[in-house]
Symmetry: C2
Subunit: 450 residues, 2 copies
């Protein structure tokens, strides 16, 4: 469904909700894919969400909807629900999503839910809760097909028809030894194309791509993306197969990680916060702005020290914005290219010096171009050679240093295993602001002889 | 393979290449997955790339490597190759990648390649070249399974074993009518679980998610992500099935689109450019910086108009950096949240006013907090009430307006179907710089009565 259709869907559902047109709404809800319903849900008020939710007749559909909702919408909605209703729906959700949700609830609530979930799945959920949210263990599902290597293709197909009807993504058949250790992998397709009496071990692949439970989800996503696979098996420390991470979850992770990086780079937190909460958003952005506030105060102190020079050459002040702005922008360009390059694997930290050198060269060239341009503007306006030269040289220095810092800082952060995305945004920009102002006044006062 | 392993792999291959240790290298190349080789390739010089490439014995492996390489690395490499060698390798690549590559070559070269590719696939490639690169038609592959609705499950499995051995992603079986029109879809899994004599029409799904050839790739990616499917069928204007887009390509698209957005927001072009070319990178960044340069000149003109006031209150200049910096940073936060929110579907343009209002509220709150803080700093340093108030009020205005512009501009851009990512970065920042400076001096001169 394209975004325009979404817009129409949201608008009509809102209108119908306001009009309490239940019959009509039930019909729409019935015909709409849960993924689309989830999208609608997000832009409704809590009371409208509840109304719409009650119109879904099928518990399974309700479970699917929960899986599709983003965290904030879901948590807001779940907090107000009756425990019994909630547990019934959780029973219809994929284990990894249930574990995720329970892990985010207040402790007393999650304990009583786990207690209530008496079905076999509950142990699975408890199992998943042991792993960190953003590791292979936290995102895996325990639904996979595991067969022994002596089983023939025919037998394998039979067990698919019986035991494994519930498996979500039955494309890979994992082959395990007597201890459950992963020893091979085959595919549904291979099953279908080999002769029925061929044992798995004769056509399985033993060259297995697998991850341990503690591997970071970003790393898991990279592996799935790199090797073009639909699921990656997760093994414990003994090599025992305990779950799989499927490609549909990987897609969500790739989008989330990109979002995280983008928001971090802008100093706007790590995750989207609830769309309605101004207070939470404010709290998240506050500390990042503090960095730039401190930077501003430092710049203010620097300029204060040059007050006397400023009083002689008032027009020095007029060039502060252009020097800060150009430095800040080229610094952002450099750091963005490096941060994203590292995230996508396009840049490698072992190439640190060639990358930094390249950025420095770009900064220098662009600095010269714009330095000359702004120098000419200064000359035309004030007709003071020394000022024009000061402004031009300051711009060259500021832009080169900005490109240098912008590329070097994230590279260094990556090298010491700190997320390079954090290094950019306010931190780098603020550093560049301070340095630019300092350079500018030092160069200007020297050249103007004041 | 984790990034640390990659680092080791790259370093050892580089070392071996320098030492010309061919036997050792051939062994490593043989054992390494092409996806990993592609990663290594990227950080080698062209001559080393060529050396390493010649060590790959299997043409199919060479084709796979080509598919894995990023565009710049590939194009640099291909330009120097003999036509015959190239065509032989192209024969071993997926059709969509071949079409992509040929579409990017100079016209004369691509024409002679197409001529040489005499195999049946060549027409397929020519077919794909008709569609825009970043549409469903441009990214689809023509390898899919299409069966008629009366065929039984057993017959279907038989034809999988015969005709469709080459299909890359055989998870969905598309059901078509006599004109090739898509009428249903089934899965390999369903084939295996139903009774062998059941005709497809009895268990196929008729509720099909499909896209037309001209749908934007970003939209296709959203559909695959939303509905958690592994492939989406592509139909022509008559509903005839002509290709599928598979989830592995979708993953690449999602990463590319995120990268594009990030780079655009930073005003650093749309795509990563060849890692070695300083000149190309410079050229791409130049126009974006020009926006901020023009902004700087405007700010300079504004400040020039207040020169007289400045000469009376020199210390007004000292607060320029903090007011510009804070405004710029909160503007970037707001615009980033809106741009990414729109891209992920978390924000919808119909909510424009609630989003903008929320951002304005956040800007106002943060403006008051930091306005008071900086006002106090000003008061402590200069002990001039009017100055402290001017600085504080200017900061409040600047931050509120920055949040307003930062959220409103991308929303408006989205509404008129211009990519909102372009709206952020240098454009928004520059606008905010100008407005901040203007506010500051207007408020200060009014309050200080100069």
């Amino acid at each position: 469904m394209q975004s325009n259709h979404h817009k129409i869907l949201i608008e009509s559902i809102r209108r119908l909700l306001r009009r309490d047109a239940t019959t009509h709404l039930v019909k729409i809800v019935d015909k709409t894919h849960v993924a689309d319903l989830a999208e609608v849900f997000r832009s409704l008020s809590l009371s409208h969400q509840r109304k719409l939710f009650d119109m879904i007749s099928d518990t399974e559909q309700k479970g699917l909807l929960f899986s599709e909702l983003d965290e904030d919408t879901l948590m807001g909605f779940v907090e107000e629900m009756e425990l019994d209703d909630l547990v019934e729906i959780l029973d219809h959700m994929p284990t990894d999503d249930v574990a995720d949700l329970i892990g985010r609830l207040p402790e007393d609530k999650s304990a009583s839910i786990l207690e209530k979930m008496k079905k076999e799945g509950s142990e699975e959920v408890e199992g998943l809760l042991r792993y960190e949210d953003d590791t292979a263990g936290g995102i895996m599902v325990p639904d996979f097909i595991a067969l022994r290597e002596n089983i023939t293709s025919r037998k394998a197909i039979e067990s698919l028809q019986k035991e494994y009807m519930d498996v979500e993504m039955p494309f890979y058949l994992y082959v395990v030894d007597e201890y459950g250790k992963l020893v091979g992998v085959s595919s549904l397709r291979q099953l279908v194309v080999v002769r029925p009496d061929t044992p798995l071990k004769d056509f399985m692949t033993t060259d297995i791509i697998a991850v341990k439970t503690d591997v970071d989800q970003e790393e898991v996503a990279k592996i799935v993306a790199r090797y073009d696979i639909l699921a990656v098996p997760v093994v414990d420390e003994y090599g025992k197969l305990i779950g799989i991470v499927t490609v549909d979850d990987i897609i969500d992770i790739i989008r989330e990680e990109a979002t995280e990086d983008i928001l971090k780079m802008a100093g706007a937190g790590e995750e989207f916060v609830e769309t309605q909460s101004v207070v939470r958003s404010t709290r998240i952005r506050l500390p990042w702005l503090f960095a730039s506030c401190v930077g501003g105060i430092i710049a203010f102190i620097i300029i204060g020290r040059f007050e006397e020079s400023l009083s002689k050459f008032i027009y020095l002040a007029a060039f502060i914005p252009v020097i800060m702005g150009m430095g800040g922008n080229i610094g952002t360009q450099s750091s963005t290219i490096v941060v994203r390059g590292l995230a996508t694997g396009r840049l490698n930290i072992i190439d640190i010096w060639s990358v930094v050198f390249k950025e420095l060269a770009i900064g220098l060239i662009l600095g010269v171009i714009y330095g000359v341009l702004i120098g000419i503007v200064a000359q035309v306006r004030y007709d003071t050679g020394a000022l024009a030269i000061s402004v031009g040289v300051a711009l060259i220095c500021s832009m080169s240093v900005a490109a240098l810092i912008g590329s070097l800082v994230p590279m260094l952060f990556a090298r010491i295993n700190v997320d390079p995305a954090v290094a950019t945004g306010p931190l780098v920009t603020t550093a560049i602001d301070i340095i630019s102002v300092f350079f500018y006044f030092t160069i200007a006062t020297t050249l103007l002889g004041i």
